[in-house]
Amino acid sequence: MSNGAVLTLGPLRLLARWSLRTADHVGRFSFLIADMFRGLAEWRIWVPRTLEQATAVGYGSLFIVLLVAGFAGAVTSLQTGYQFTGTLPLYYAGAVISESMILELGPVLTALILAGRIGARYAAELGTMRVTEQIDALESLGRSPVSHLLLPRVVAGLMVIPALTMFANATGIVVGYLTAKGALGLTYGDFEYGARYFFRPLDLWYSLIKSYCFAAAITAIPCYLGFNTQQGAEGVGRATTTAVVSASVAILMLDALITKLLLVAK
């Protein structure tokens, strides 16, 4: 074989290997999702555990979510003031701050933070359980790991993440208004006028739909990666990192896709 053929075979082989691995992941992920739907029937098992998970994840994440949302609102407010002063009426700032928070910053920033917080937690917990044979133990006791471990985590995320997103939206808007009032001298009346003038009920639905989709990515991807962890402590570390990166990338891709489907297509 000539050197040229060897050089072209390398990338091709890599591409083939990558394609096979991706197909393998897609297949196994799909089976896991199907298992979760089947597991919904065992509600006596997953409902109590879901409430425990939701409490742990919700309370634990509230502070950091509100903190980030508050700063996002404040910075949006300052930047709007910097761009608008002298060019546009100041009440526009009310519209920009509230719409930015509801449409983009609230859901996306919350999701990215939670991808790190919840995603890492789920992947590390399940990964550790896998390498210490706790998941095998559960299976060997005739119990389903899906209804004992996965469903409570995924459903808890689906309950808590949209709620946290709504809190983040509200916090961002309030802090944004307070910043605009202090830094730009914007009155409440002007802020409310601007916010109401451009607001449509669809915006809130859009924010909620986005947060549900993000919640699915933040919970299902890390659960899948943690559940399929291999090779000890190193594997747990790899699963955790991959979970956070994959969930974050999924959030950005879903963000673009949902925006195209719900806002641009109108």
């Binding site: 044979e133 133990a137 006791l141 005739g142």
Partner: protein, 259 residues
């Protein structure tokens, strides 16, 4: 009865089991001996369907394990107690909750009083004090974790018990305690057991028959006396290595006591 019929298993290029056949009769205890990494735990995981063979068959309680569906497998697993090498206790749950999970009958599992009594009974069977029930696995010693693992495995009153290296990582005194426990459970509960181990003396003590897994194949099966009398070089080599290890361990103990 447990039967392995011409079982083959490989992980990528690594052939782990190459035509393994073994029969464990009802009420019998068989020890599966062999060096580390030879496929003993893989064999055990095939018996309760955690792994599937590439070819061959595994029959437990008259059921062909590799072909079982989800429900049938869960039903079969409720008849099999599995003691994991490192205990595999759920670290967020107390000892009592861990043992309770072993109660596989759903009606019994939801009956608080039954569960409390059963947990207490299982703790007694493995020589643990009732106070241990409220502790978390992290608060237990290695030997206690193993015993809690055994308690969880017997909580569902299984017909079969599978022990994966029950004495590994334990000092000789604790290993003796666990061996004694396996013997007692065999006599008191009358279960059919498979004990995976690389500890020759312990295996000879607890098992009715011993099988030596060597280079992916069953090299010898028989009673302790038959194995000791075997002229097979692999068997002799394995027994000699174990003897050397025992001598080194005994010398070490003597030195410590002498000091």
């Amino acid at each position: 009865m447990i039967e392995l019929l011409d079982v083959h298993k490989r992980f990528l290029e690594n052939v782990v089991l190459d035509g393994v056949s073994l029969e464990v009769k009802d009420g019998e205890t068989v020890a599966l001996l062999g060096p580390s990494g030879v496929g003993k735990s893989v064999t055990l995981k095939m018996i309760n369907g955690l792994l599937r063979p590439d070819s061959g068959d595994v029959i437990v309680d008259g059921l062909h394990v590799p072909t079982l569906g989800r429900k049938e497998l869960a039903e079969l697993r409720s008849k099999i107690g599995y003691v994991f090498q490192y205990g595999a206790l759920f670290d967020s749950m107390s000892v009592a909750e861990n043992i309770r999970l072993g109660i596989t009958d759903e009606t019994c599992y939801n009956d608080e009083k039954f569960c409390d009594n059963r947990v207490a009974e299982c703790l007694r069977l493995v020589n643990l004090l009732p106070e241990v029930a409220t502790k978390l696995p992290a608060e237990l010693s290695g030997g206690m974790k193993k015993r809690v693992g055994i308690a969880r495995a017997i909580a569902g009153k299984p017909k079969y018990l599978l022990y994966d290296e029950p004495t590994s990582g334990l000092d000789p005194v604790n290993a003796d305690v666990i061996d004694g426990l396996i013997e007692r459970l065999r006599d008191e509960l009358g279960v059919t057991s498979v004990v995976v181990s690389h500890d020759v003396r312990g295996s000879f003590r607890v098992a009715d028959r011993v099988a030596l897994l060597w280079q992916a194949k069953i090299r010898a099966v028989g009673t302790a006396e038959e194995i000791l009398a075997s002229r097979d070089t692999a068997v002799q080599q394995f027994l000699e290595r174990d003897l050397e290890m025992s001598l080194i361990q005994a010398e070490g103990n003597q030195d410590r006591h002498g000091a």
